[in-house]
């Protein structure tokens, strides 16, 4: 099989598993809407739409975190990762496939979150959608690698946010900048730069994280 054939097969497995078990996605959808409702009560009534725009990014990052903590749950519980590592495919294909499925879940969660945000708080424009898409790539790339690390530790779910949040700060900066700034272009560019750098780094280093 080719590299992308492997990736497609692995990603299909993740999505099929999710379609059958419905473990993660409903939780993410419910979580992101609940967060937005909580934010409504957290914001003072006279605060601006800009503050709501910032909080949308908090909601996105934490929803992604929720999905990422579950990303390797099935592999860990069924000891599947050993089998995957032994399979005759490039290890980075595992990362790419997992990243793609994480991204798919995140996109579905945002397909609910953005209309809800527009309904509750402020209109959503094309720039915001572009920023969200760019941010998703970075979040999925870095998050998948860190989730694999956290899955190998004793602390597991506890560890992932600690590893992930410092690395997510630049994503927040780019995203909030693109949402609130007058000239969003450079923030979008920054997000793209982040995606490129960390995707390459994660792609190259995933093998070291999963092999014994």
């Amino acid at each position: 099989m080719t590299y992308f054939g492997d990736v497609a097969a692995l990603a299909r497995k993740d999505i099929l598993l999710e379609l059958r078990s419905r473990d993660t996605l409903p939780a993410m959808l419910l979580f992101v809407v609940s967060t937005l409702v909580v934010f409504h009560f957290a914001l003072p009534s006279d605060s601006s739409d800009l503050a709501a725009g910032g909080l949308l990014w908090v909601a996105i990052v934490f929803t992604a975190l929720l999905g990422l903590t579950r990303a390797f749950a099935a592999e860990r519980e069924q000891r599947l990762l050993d089998g995957l590592v032994l399979a005759p495919c490039d290890r980075s294909a595992i990362w790419l496939a997992k990243g793609a499925s994480v991204m798919a879940f995140l996109l579905l969660a945002e397909a609910v979150a953005l209309p809800a945000f527009a309904l509750f708080f402020a209109p959503v424009d094309a720039t915001l959608v572009a920023a969200v898409l760019l941010a998703d790539i970075g979040i999925a790339a870095v998050g998948t690698l860190l989730a694999a690390m956290a899955a190998a530790s004793r602390a597991r779910e506890l560890l992932l946010p600690l590893l992930f949040l410092p690395l997510a700060i630049p994503v927040i900066v780019g995203g909030v900048g693109a949402t609130v700034a007058e000239e969003p272009a450079r923030y979008l560019g920054f997000l793209a730069l982040y995606d490129l750098l960390f995707a390459i780094l994660s792609w190259a280093s995933f093998e070291y994280v999963v092999t014994e």
């Binding site: 600690l162 690395l167 280093s205």
Partner: protein, 227 residues
């Protein structure tokens, strides 16, 4: 021969000499800064300590890269010790920077000070490095995971710096710079002495810590062999 066996002692005494010399020069020889007066002298500690922290993180990442490259176990301990030193100097940077902010602007913390914010992000990042290490079973996988995380750190430093600069665009519309007039020759000289001092101090601490950890590891092996 003496030098080879007592490298730690030699490094430590050099560091002590350089730091004592640098601090005395900073206190008694260098002229006052035009804008900030006497308090500007904390610059001779704060900035060298910050640069030393970067050097430690860089050194740790270099050792991490060597580990992934060669798979030699000794690089794991070296990388870990370097990151450890980096965090210590990073905390010192936060403390001295906070004192400086208090004296200059009357507040203990300013989100407008890029270096300080960057060190806070790095502090959080590298604290998670320790969490990762302590919650994973020792072995080749832990070594490689720590190495990958340490490598992420050196990529995160410039990316975060850029992010913090960009964030000022919407968090702080007015950017204030502290860069006053060009540094005078005498100031630069004292700064270099202090920088050499903190770098040597980091080297001495690194050598000492590494030696201690290696002795610990050998002792444990010996105990296991005897048991």
């Amino acid at each position: 021969m003496w030098l080879r066996n007592n490298r730690g002692v030699a490094l430590a005494s050099t560091a002590a000499l350089l730091l004592l010399g640098g601090i005395s020069l900073a206190f008694f020889w260098v002229p006052d800064d035009v804008d900030q007066g006497f308090s500007q002298r904390i610059f001779y500690i704060h900035v060298p300590v910050a640069l030393t922290a970067y050097a430690c993180f860089g050194w740790g990442a270099w050792k991490a890269l060597r580990l992934l490259w060669t798979r030699e176990v000794r690089y794991d301990l070296e990388s870990y010790t370097a990151v450890h030193m980096g965090v210590i100097f990073g905390i010192l940077t936060l403390v001295t920077g906070s004192i400086w902010a208090r004296i200059s602007w009357g507040v203990w913390w300013s989100w407008g000070e890029r270096q300080l914010v960057l060190f806070l992000v790095l502090f959080l990042f590298y604290s998670a490095y320790f969490m990762l290490r302590y919650s994973t079973e020792p072995g080749p996988r832990r070594e490689r995971m720590s190495a990958v995380y340490a490598l992420f750190g050196v990529v995160l430093i410039p990316v975060s710096f850029l992010a913090i600069r960009l964030a000022e665009g919407f968090i702080h519309p007015t950017v204030f710079t502290r860069d006053g007039p060009q540094m005078a020759g005498s100031m630069f000289f004292v700064f270099c002495v202090c920088l050499a001092g903190t770098l040597t101090l980091a080297g001495a601490l690194y050598a000492n810590e590494l030696l201690g950890k290696r002795v610990d590891a050998s002792l444990r092996e010996l105990e296991e062999a005897l048991a």
